[in-house]
Symmetry: C2
Subunit: 384 residues, 2 copies
């Protein structure tokens, strides 16, 4: 196990009715900006609960934060927040709204061009405190310190991480997820699954506890994930998925171990160039990446095969093949297609994606920094 320092300061309020808790989480004299997406929170009653909890607070609204939130749009929120002297942000939505709100929080008092927070990892000064009401379990953004923002004009989709943007609190009420479209529920499960794999499927010594946690999360998603499609209003199922997706990327399983994240970095380019849903890009990239990196990752893929899928028979290569097939089939069983062709992408699009990776400094990906641009090209070719 490698050395690490870890603290996750976000206070979690989990369960039905917990939206009421935000009344005591936000200072009474705060000037709040509620940020949200396309308006589903108005239809499913979540916003009503939020406004009821904040009836004695000063509240303004900024809607329209899109999936893969754009810098261009978020900067409008930044301007509004500066003008209105906003001093607390409340994101109500999924990972895109929460990611976007982290950027807004970081940009409001930032001196200089806020894009450099993403492009250069610029240091942050004063950050506006923020909390959230999560409505789509997937990204774990509700209680971590990362965010991803896209600049539409240049097709740049870039992450930043900073402990100053940890949410102060996160409300996870599974009932807010009952009305999610099946595709979004499925994307959430796949997204969480791949978050786990990025932190788990790396070779290391003596990280027994991290391995067991990751395997437990994967087993839970495999057993409970398909149920969200069949029983979308089952509180137990929704609770399990919401808690597991949170745990998948709250820092816990990634302490003291090498990470991969190549699937994400390659996937980001598919979203930036072709607008494919984030989770779909992960389902496309992970199986051929496992195949291409099978030699380096062999001990861990074999452990994954045995403990997560119960694969015991066959040679090493056969078991690795089976594990990759099981992974792909799980994504497909959730209704998430796993081939570039399913999304209309052909071989001739690949050079642009490789150029994007190069431009974004992604020429040596993976835990061993051995996924070169050539290997990324092969992975994408094998994903056709």
């Amino acid at each position: 196990m490698n050395n690490f320092t870890f603290q996750n300061p976000t206070r979690i309020h989990f369960g039905k009715g917990q939206i009421a808790a935000i009344a005591n989480e936000i200072p009474a004299n705060a000037r709040i900006l509620i940020t949200y997406g396309g308006g589903s929170i108005k239809k499913n009653g979540t916003l009503d609960q939020v406004l009821a909890a904040l009836e004695n607070h000063s509240v303004q609204m900024f809607g329209g934060i899109e999936p893969n939130p754009s810098y261009e749009n978020l900067m409008e929120a930044v301007e509004l927040a500066r003008k209105e002297k906003i001093d607390f942000l409340l994101a109500v939505g999924g990972g895109s709204v929460i990611d976007g709100t982290k950027f807004i929080a970081a940009a409001i008092h930032f001196e200089g061009e806020p894009w450099t927070i993403l492009s250069e990892g610029a240091a942050l000064g004063k950050v506006v405190p923020a909390g959230n009401v999560l409505t789509l379990p997937a990204t774990g953004s509700e209680s971590n310190s990362g965010a991803v923002v896209t600049r539409r004009s240049t097709k740049d989709k870039l992450p930043f991480m900073n402990s100053l943007v940890y949410p102060k609190f996160a409300v996870l009420d599974p009932e807010t997820t009952y009305s999610l479209p099946a595709g979004q529920s499925a994307n959430g499960v796949v997204d969480a699954f791949v978050h786990i794999m990025e932190q788990y499927l790396t070779v290391r010594d003596n990280a027994h506890m991290q391995d067991r946690y990751a395997e437990g999360q994967l087993l839970t998603l495999i057993s409970e994930g398909p149920k969200v499609l069949e029983q979308p209003k089952d509180y137990g199922v929704r609770s399990t998925i919401m808690w597991t997706a949170n745990q998948a990327l709250n820092g816990l399983i990634g302490q003291g171990v090498p990470h991969d994240w190549a699937t994400h970095m390659i996937g980001h380019e598919l979203t930036a160039v072709h607008g494919i849903d984030h989770a779909q890009t992960l389902a496309i990239v992970l199986p051929p990446l496992m195949d291409k990196m099978r030699a380096q990752k062999a001990p861990k893929i074999l452990q994954y095969a045995a403990r997560v899928w119960g694969i015991q028979e066959g040679t090493d290569e056969e078991r690795i093949d089976q594990a990759i097939s099981k992974t792909r089939n799980f994504f497909e069983s959730m209704g998430v297609k796993t081939r570039l062709g399913d999304y209309g992408i052909t071989e001739k699009e690949i050079p642009v994606l490789i150029d994007q990776l190069e431009r974004h400094g992604m020429s040596a990906l993976g835990e061993g920094r051995d996924i070169t641009l050539d290997i990324s090209r092969e992975i994408l070719t094998n994903a056709l």
Copy 2:
């Protein structure tokens, strides 16, 4: 899953050399009291590392905090801290030192009789901030909000929990545990094991993630625990045990689920009256408690049997029997004896233990509050 609110604010510094991190964790102008136990930290070099890190700080010392820290002794530290205007406490040791230091932190500015913090759960006002350097992985006290203190004069061993006593930071350097006596290492593994069982072996619905985490922790202790006896200076083994014991009682696996804790409450009386090590009392009580509560806990014991011990054959009753035997054998394999007779306790001592439970308000223990004094008597009788 039940509703819950959870935040664990303790910053963990894990790994070799991390003791140096305390220099930046404690304010430069703090008046520090280092609390410790019997002096092993002087022999194994831990104290030297602590003092080197704090060479520019104002430091005083209070040693001699005993296993099952006593109120009488801790109040001497409280008096010293008041006199010396101590404003930061640094516990260097195991769970007893850290528990005792939580009580000191709570008592320094407490108005009235500090014993009422334990006997009545009295509300706390100002609490002195504290951190710790852990040297014995076992109790999880290094990053939770609980503590247990014993009043020798009255043989009362009582717990208190308060979020104000969460440590500000905890240093977990596995190298500090290399010199632990085998018996203490074994006790730590057993203590952590039973902490997990108290939060896991209760019947509930849809707590898949909590179950998987607990099972992963148990599997890890079963596989790695015996190795600490054989390879006491193996960094990987010591790392795994230190991280697992921390995770077993940092709040994570207990969120949203019913807890038992009857084994602990009965065990506390064995320590209070007979001075038996805490972990030994747990190893004595848990197997007969599982047996006595086999009907109520049947679904969970069967899950435990299958997932943790791989027990698949036989009737329900036979599999439950096997799971209890496996549990007892694991404790014995760690060198921790599991019968009252092993510690010289005979049937005639049981009435005093039951009187103690009654006096401490422990007449309805367990997650169903159905472990009456009569059932506790049967459990102890079956533990002979």
